[in-house]
């Protein structure tokens, strides 16, 4: 196991948990990023502004990270542009069909004890593991 970062990862997770808790306490909304992005590109009255503001916060965090420690944003794997595009398409369709992603189901849904979110999280984790196994070990993608 190389590049294992349990302390930084735990700290990052705590920040994510605090953010999701604050968004529920203040705005009463779930911090599900796929839902926030989908809602921002198909505007709904009164629900558009906070979504754009949340997305701006995410982008700003990344921009600050680029100045402070660009290694935190490194890709580190070799994939073609077409692969990233197709992966994005799958994630876009999949998160709408399945009503959520890592944050909405994996963090917020599990925190509420949602059975749907547990099923979704187990499924996308398993699908991810199988995909990486096929890509890395059967097709020899550069990890």
């Amino acid at each position: 196991m190389h590049n294992f970062t349990p302390v930084a990862s735990l700290f990052g997770g705590i920040l994510i948990g605090l953010s999701a808790a604050m968004l529920m306490l203040l705005n009463g909304r779930i911090a599900g990023i796929s839902g926030i992005v989908a809602g921002a590109i198909r505007p709904e009255r009164g629900e558009w502004e906070w979504r754009i503001a949340f997305i701006a916060g995410l982008v700003a965090a990344g921009a600050i990270a680029r100045m402070v420690a660009p290694a935190w944003l490194a890709i580190g794997i070799t994939r073609s542009s077409a692969t990233f595009l197709i992966a994005g398409l799958l994630v876009g369709v999949g998160t709408r069909l399945g009503s959520g992603c890592t944050s909405g189901h994996g963090v917020c849904g599990l925190s509420r004890g949602s059975i749907r979110s547990l099923a979704a999280t187990a499924t996308f984790m398993a699908a991810g593991v199988v995909t990486v196994f096929i890509a890395n070990h059967l097709f020899g993608a550069q990890p």
Binding site: G17, S19, V59, G98, S99, G100, V107, R116, S117
Partner: protein, 159 residues
């Protein structure tokens, strides 16, 4: 305005958590999903930390009559596990494993200077648009020509 400010602050904090946790490095995500290879367990700590804090916080927050800056909590109430949920999660998992990006880290990496995140985002937004157009089209077709035993309701509620 207050709601926008609080959402911006939450987004900033969420993005910081993703970056510090290692989620914005596709190599770490793929390493986490490479369970049968050179497994990097770091991201289990991201999930564990986020869940521990949020599960406790939700218990207290959801006891309130309403959120601080809004009239009501928007909480999904559905509980059925259907083929849409599982099929969608499968497609999402395949995309996640291929690129090492899920939606949050991709948005956060938009200005990283690498082309991967913007390309991934373009695909993701196209997929979301395509899905909602198809859902509306299908729903319209079924309303116009109802079939017994078939129901298709476009779901805009998340999770």
């Amino acid at each position: 305005m207050k709601r926008m400010l609080s959402a911006f602050g939450c987004g900033l904090l969420f993005g910081a958590g993703l970056v510090i946790g290692g989620m914005t490095q596709p190599s770490k995500v793929v390493g986490f999903l490479d369970f049968f290879g050179n497994w990097d367990a770091s991201l289990a700590f991201v999930m564990g930390g986020a869940l521990a804090v949020n599960a406790i916080a939700y218990r207290f927050v959801l006891r309130r009559a309403h959120p601080v800056l809004a009239e009501e909590f928007a909480i999904p109430r559905r509980s059925e596990i259907d083929s849409r949920l599982i099929g969608g999660a499968m497609l999402f998992g395949v995309g996640w494993g291929l690129a090492g990006y899920c939606p949050g880290p991709a948005v956060t990496s938009l200005l990283s200077g690498h082309s991967a995140a913007p390309i991934f985002m373009a695909g993701m937004i196209a997929g979301m648009f395509g899905y909602s157009l198809a859902a509306e089209h299908l729903a319209g077709a079924l309303v116009a020509r109802p079939q017994p035993g078939v129901s298709f309701v476009p779901q805009n509620t998340d999770v």
